[in-house]
């Protein structure tokens, strides 16, 4: 589904990603872990086409398409979804208008008619329930005045609405209490099918207790330095990242 080859990227002229190789197949859950500043969020930003990041080398193929040539909106419509680490507040744009616009753009891309008002509201109701967001959501502005937990649940709600092929969860666990974490993870697990895939970016093992990864990678200094099964996450939880740094000859 996703093939990342020798990906290099800069932000403000500084090289953050120094040759990432990553292969994700349908039905898989990958966890990307690593200490702060290792490039985890840069990787997710580059994959969704954030213009603040400049790709200097390498390629990304998503379902046969050259991802790096697509606009952010086309990447979304091709089925890539990022659950933002810091979801953006958009005052004055209601969730219902925002979601309807997004959903209809996805439908248009697939050659489908816009969704009817009743079907849309039904869909909103259904998907909202997955992450236990209340019905006032529709009339509220996007993320405005949402608590940290509500923002993250709102991300998963949007994911449920758009049904992406590849979901990237960027530190979705940060700032969540245990109940919110359970709700978010439950939502992600419900949305899991053999046809889609997820990349879970996290600093801690905590989220991986709820979302079981098939493969765990460690990102360090812009490179994937270790790839193994789920047991790697537990080892990291146990020993921290220092042994990785040592192994890399940094300490």
């Amino acid at each position: 589904m996703l093939e990342v080859k020798n990906l290099h990227a800069n932000v403000n002229g500084k090289e953050i990603l120094k040759g990432i190789n990553l292969s994700v197949k349908a039905g898989e859950v990958h966890a990307i872990m690593g200490p702060n500043g290792s490039g985890k969020s840069t990787l997710s930003s580059v994959l969704v086409g954030n213009p603040a990041f400049e790709v200097t080398e390498g390629e990304v193929i998503f379902n046969g398409k050259n991802l790096l040539e697509l606009s952010p909106e086309d990447r979304s419509r091709e089925g890539i979804f990022l659950s933002f680490q810091y979801p953006v507040e958009i005052p004055g744009v209601s969730m219902v208008n925002f979601m309807r616009a997004a959903l209809n753009e996805h439908r248009k891309y697939k050659g489908l008619e816009p969704v009817s008002a009743t079907d849309f509201l039904k869909l909103m109701r259904e998907k909202r329930a997955i992450v236990e967001l209340d019905n006032k959501l529709a009339s509220r502005s996007v993320n405005e005045g949402f608590s940290g937990g509500e923002k993250k649940r709102n991300e998963i709600f949007q994911m449920a609405m758009l049904e992406p092929k590849l979901a990237i969860l960027d530190e979705t666990d940060s700032g969540l209490d245990i109940d919110a974490l359970r709700i978010v993870a439950h939502g992600v697990n419900l949305l899991k099918t053999p046809e889609n895939a997820a990349i879970v970016i996290t600093h801690y093992q905590r989220l991986l207790d709820y979302i079981k990864p098939d493969i765990v990678h460690v990102l360090y200094k812009g490179r994937i330095v270790k790839t193994a099964g789920p047991e790697l996450a537990l080892e990291l939880e146990d020993k921290g990242y220092d042994w990785i740094k040592k192994e890399m000859g940094d300490e």
Binding site: S71, E73, F84, I90, G92, N97, F98
Partner: protein, 450 residues
């Protein structure tokens, strides 16, 4: 006033046509003309060097040769044909002014409570000279502003809303100003609103320019809210790029009144809106807001002056502009809190979006406070659309242009949210969205929108 050429043609015109002007008007209006002429000769047009008209060249706007319909010749137009598309489903008592003449051919069925007058100014001042002379020209002084003087000198008709004591007019009154002519035309309009104690009404004024010729309007609006009155004034401007408008709205509020003024400009050429609000009785409340969406060479120049003359009044001011291409926006907002006007609450906000490097916004707040127990604030920002929000929307599949449109609509939505008529609010939200989509000029079914 270095040279008086722009002024001279109007002075000459009045000298030649005074008789006609007066004959097609009424004594209440005529008695103010001599003084208005003297004031106009003395003041002339406001100079571009004066601080208050720094960015709008008034003399230049008035210099071309415009036709005036002093003889009140009927201009062929069926206003009902013209005004079909923009605010449907809004049940109003509907009236028309064509250029500056009240349209009385097919008067709508009156839905007005007894004693309420909504209709032509000429007829009103003829029929009720005692009431009319008590108010006409009393809020807008021709001694202070050359454009008001010119308007007072030449105006022959206009529109009146008169609501007697304790009467509540539920259904909004709608006045549609239609610019229609085959030659460049100037119109001098008046609107007079008299709200007797504890009366309530809402007035929606819509401006349309049908023809492609040049139009120049001077408009003086006087609103008198007597004790306990509740009044809404909505001004929706959808004219044309070749329409220039100088509007001056004067509100006098007595104790415990609540007046909302909301000016929305969606299409125009050059517009100058002056707002003067006087809070003269305690516990009066004023909401003054407005927005404009400008592109190409369009210009919106807003000047406001709110006077807190007595204690315990509240004013809330909000103006927003969205500027594209080479559009120019000006906001100058003055709040005067007079000595002794304690417990005043006065908020002023001006926010602007400049979408291009060429667009210009000039903003100047001015607070003058002579009381020491007040809550006053002002805030001004001019900036671009939030890049993070744009990217967030794109990452959900919304194209950048669509995201820009949604954010622009959102930016102005709080001005529309101040509208206190639900159906109108919904309609305006949709109109603003159409404006941002560039669809406003494409609506089928009426001449305005072709």
């Amino acid at each position: 006033m270095s040279d008086m050429r722009a002024e001279q043609q109007y002075i000459d015109l009045f000298a030649q046509c005074e008789d006609l002007v007066c004959r097609h008007s009424t004594p209440v209006m005529n008695t103010l003309r001599a003084e208005a002429l003297a004031n106009f000769e003395r003041l002339g047009f406001p100079s571009a060097r004066s601080e208050e008209y720094k960015y709008t060249d008034v003399a230049q706007a008035f210099a071309p040769d415009y036709g005036l319909n002093i003889n009140r010749i009927a201009i062929p137009v069926n206003p009902y044909d013209v005004f079909r598309c923009d605010v449907p489903n809004l049940s109003t008592s509907l009236y028309f002014v064509v250029n500056d003449t009240f349209y009385d051919k097919e008067l709508p069925k009156a839905h007005l409570p007894e004693g309420v007058y909504a209709g032509g100014l000429k007829v009103f001042t003829e029929r009720y000279p005692e009431i009319a002379s008590k108010y006409y020209g009393k809020a807008a002084s021709s001694g202070k502003d050359g454009i008001i003087a010119l308007n007072t000198m030449l105006a022959q008709d206009g529109f009146v809303v008169y609501v007697p004591k304790n009467v509540v007019v539920e259904r909004p009154i709608q006045l549609v100003n239609i610019f229609r002519n085959d030659v460049d035309t100037m119109a001098n309009r008046r609107v007079l609103v008299i709200m007797e104690p504890h009366s309530q009404a809402k007035l929606l004024v819509c401006d349309h320019s049908i023809d492609d010729v040049k139009f120049l309007a001077t408009q003086v609006v006087e609103i008198f809210a007597e004790e306990g009155a509740y009044f809404d004034y909505y001004d929706l401007e959808e004219s044309s790029e070749s329409t220039t408008r100088f509007s001056s709205v004067h509100v006098k509020q007595a104790a415990s009144t609540n007046v909302l003024v909301n000016g929305i400009t969606l299409t125009n050429g050059l517009t100058r809106n002056n707002y003067y609000v006087e809070l003269n009785g305690e516990y009066a409340e004023s909401t003054l807001c407005g927005m404009s969406v400008l592109d190409k060479e369009q210009q919106m120049d807003t000047y406001s002056h709110i006077t807190h003359a007595v204690p315990n009044c509240t004013s809330n001011e909000l103006f927003k502009n969205v500027l594209n291409d080479r559009a120019v926006g000006v906001f100058s907002g003055r709040i005067l809190v007079k000595e002794g006007a304690q417990k005043t609450i006065a908020y002023q906000t001006n926010r602007n979006l400049c979408a291009t490097r060429e667009a210009r916004m000039y903003s100047k707040p001015q607070l003058e406070i002579y009381a020491d127990d007040v809550k006053c604030s002002h805030g001004m920002t001019t900036g671009q659309l939030d890049e993070n929000a744009l990217f967030y929307m794109q990452s959900r599949g919304i194209p950048r242009d669509e995201a820009r449109m949604l954010l622009s609509v959102a930016f102005t939505s709080d001005v529309i949210d101040h509208v206190r008529v639900e159906a109108l609010k919904d309609r305006l939200h949709k109109l603003v969205e159409k404006r941002f989509r560039g669809e406003l000029a494409k609506c089928a079914g009426c001449r305005i929108c072709k």
